[in-house]
């Protein structure tokens, strides 16, 4: 048990080192002299003076060996200091933190909607497999998987903002602006949650303790509420964590469409504006968080499920 925890922790550290190294090397891998790029960004369209490039190189400590530079960069990064954005000239750290809060709110709302619909739907489907509820639920939710969010979002804006005028079409002001993006984002997780909770409930309803509960005289609904849902929800919890990790940075398209100042838009704009410090900061944070959340989800799964805890093989 502790060996697995230690192993996971070491892998986590190794990943973070690799990710940070990749991010650190961005200016060197993308070709061109990074110092020249910085000077160029300061002087705008004017010609770059070679002497000022060299002066800047020494001033920034970029004449030192790469390993020294990397350790210095990593040390600062660990303190939340990723330097200053080329575009806004403000520190990247706080910008990333702000964006993370926004993306977290959005992801939790979307997953909350998905969970609120999927758990009851999956349970109902599992209680009457092959019947009308099951067939329709499976069909409809599986269709959601194929809906591109960059199609659904403009259509939703067209109907609810332009035609009906009920909800704001973009921006991040108040709960009303959260509704459309959260609903758009919830479609795909909803499909997966329904599928998994249905399968889990099917398994649970076959279990001996359900038969035992039924033979003690509980009716089907009581049995499901008292014994079924708690056990059937476990795989969904793991999936929830996976989706949370995925949506923190993965909702780029939706954030861009709805002009939401989240992680996805931050990294997208960093790429478009060639804003290297912001790109590095947001990339490291997103990937580190995804890996961390996944590791925690695995740990949670092992802790919640005694059967897995005892024989930890995949």
């Amino acid at each position: 048990m502790w060996m697995i925890a230690l192993q996971r922790f070491l892998i986590l550290c190794l990943t973070l080192v690799i990710i940070s190294l990749l991010a650190f090397l961005v200016p060197y891998m993308s070709g061109g002299d990074p110092v020249r790029t910085i000077v160029q960004s300061r002087v705008g369209d004017m010609a770059v003076d070679p002497a000022s490039v060299e002066a800047m190189r020494v001033q920034l400590g970029l004449d030192q060996p790469l390993s020294v530079q990397y350790l210095g960069w990593l040390w600062n990064a660990l303190h939340g200091d990723f330097g200053y954005s080329f575009v806004s000239r403000s520190p990247v750290g706080p910008e990333v933190a702000r964006a993370l809060v926004v993306s977290f709110t959005l992801a939790m709302s979307a997953l909350g909607i998905a969970l609120a619909v999927a758990l009851p739907l999956g349970t109902l489907s599992a209680m009457r497999p092959g019947k009308a509820v099951d067939t329709v639920a499976t069909f409809v939710t599986q269709t959601f998987v194929a809906v591109p969010e960059y199609w659904f979002a403009p259509m939703a804006v067209l109907v609810f903002s332009l035609y009906l005028g009920l909800l704001p079409s973009a921006g991040w002001e108040g709960p009303a602006s959260l509704v459309l993006p959260a609903v758009v984002l919830s479609l795909r997780p909803l499909a997966y949650f329904t599928r998994v909770s249905r399968a889990a409930m099917m398994d649970v309803l076959q279990a001996p303790y359900i038969t035992a509960a039924r033979s003690r005289g509980l009716n089907m609904n009581q049995t499901v509420v008292h014994h079924g849902i708690r056990n059937g929800a476990m795989p969904v919890v793991t999936l929830f964590a996976l989706w949370l990790a995925g949506l923190l940075g993965g909702s780029v398209v939706v954030e861009v469409i709805f002009a939401i100042p989240g992680m996805g838009r931050l990294i997208y704009e960093a790429v478009v504006n060639k804003d290297v410090p912001t790109l590095q900061g947001s990339f490291v944070c997103i990937v580190a968080l995804s890996v961390l959340i996944n590791t925690l989800a695995d740990a949670l799964y092992i802790l919640l499920n005694p059967a897995v805890r005892i024989r930890h093989v995949h």
């Binding site: 998987v145 199609w151 067209l158 332009l162 993965g250 398209v253 996805g264 990294i267 060639k274």
Partner: protein, 303 residues
Amino acid sequence: MSINHLAPSAPTILDPARSTDPSTVAQAIRFIRQRHWSFAVGSLLFLTIAVLLIISPWIIPHDPAAQSLVRRLAGPSAQHWLGTDHLGRDLLSRLLIGGRFSVAIAAVTLILCAVIGTLLGVVSARTGGLTDEIVMRVVDLLISFPDVIVAIFMIAIFGPGYGTLIASLTIVGWTPFARMARGLALEINSREYIRAAEVLGCTKTFIIFRHVIPNAIRPIAAISFLRFGHKLITVGGLSFLGLGVQPPNADWALMLAESQAYAERAPLLVVAPGLAIFLTALSVTWIGQGLEMKGRNASKVTQ
């Protein structure tokens, strides 16, 4: 299939060409009848879309790049069946040609992912020990990377291009296949006939290619089709952001992005390309589901 089992079967052996043809068709029909209905519908839809995309250069009514600012944002007419976009280009022609890049990129990525993932998964299950441990830890790790972010990061470094796109989506995309193939291979490895093959002295490679992969192929095919839709939507999303297929080319997601500003004046410009992506993704999803689930006819036919 003759009723008289004792009848000589020599004529069928003498004429193999005649005997194989109906049997493959019959086999295909039987295969489809055993599946869920969604397999047949999905296959039909996907084949139609694929054929249309392949022959599109010869059937499009107009040049998809030809602009005509006089006729911009026109509604459907006899000349332009679906109307024109904001630059006066024929929507139908662009729609027919616009799926070629994204569907091809998604397909290539998917095949790469499936092949790499399956091979690594099967080999690590067969080899065990340190190899298995390392491959599976790498899978644990990469599976939690958001694929869009990795793609955006790589495009930021190497610039937009089809190679970058395929490579970045493959780096993360092979992991589910590896996990699944390993699970299937472990199960197959515990079967009697694998023991028999080992006792007979078959090599590891032979067992993998002769027994393990053929037995694991159907669930992997199912998951491949299910992932295909996901890949197509991801590629489209990157094109939508301007990081995938580049502007002079017609592309469904790109058309969506370009016509967003005109959504209120000409809703068809937004509806049509999105519907094309949706139907393509839906068709492959249905194929995948149909492969996974047994249809109603299954029990009737097999028993």
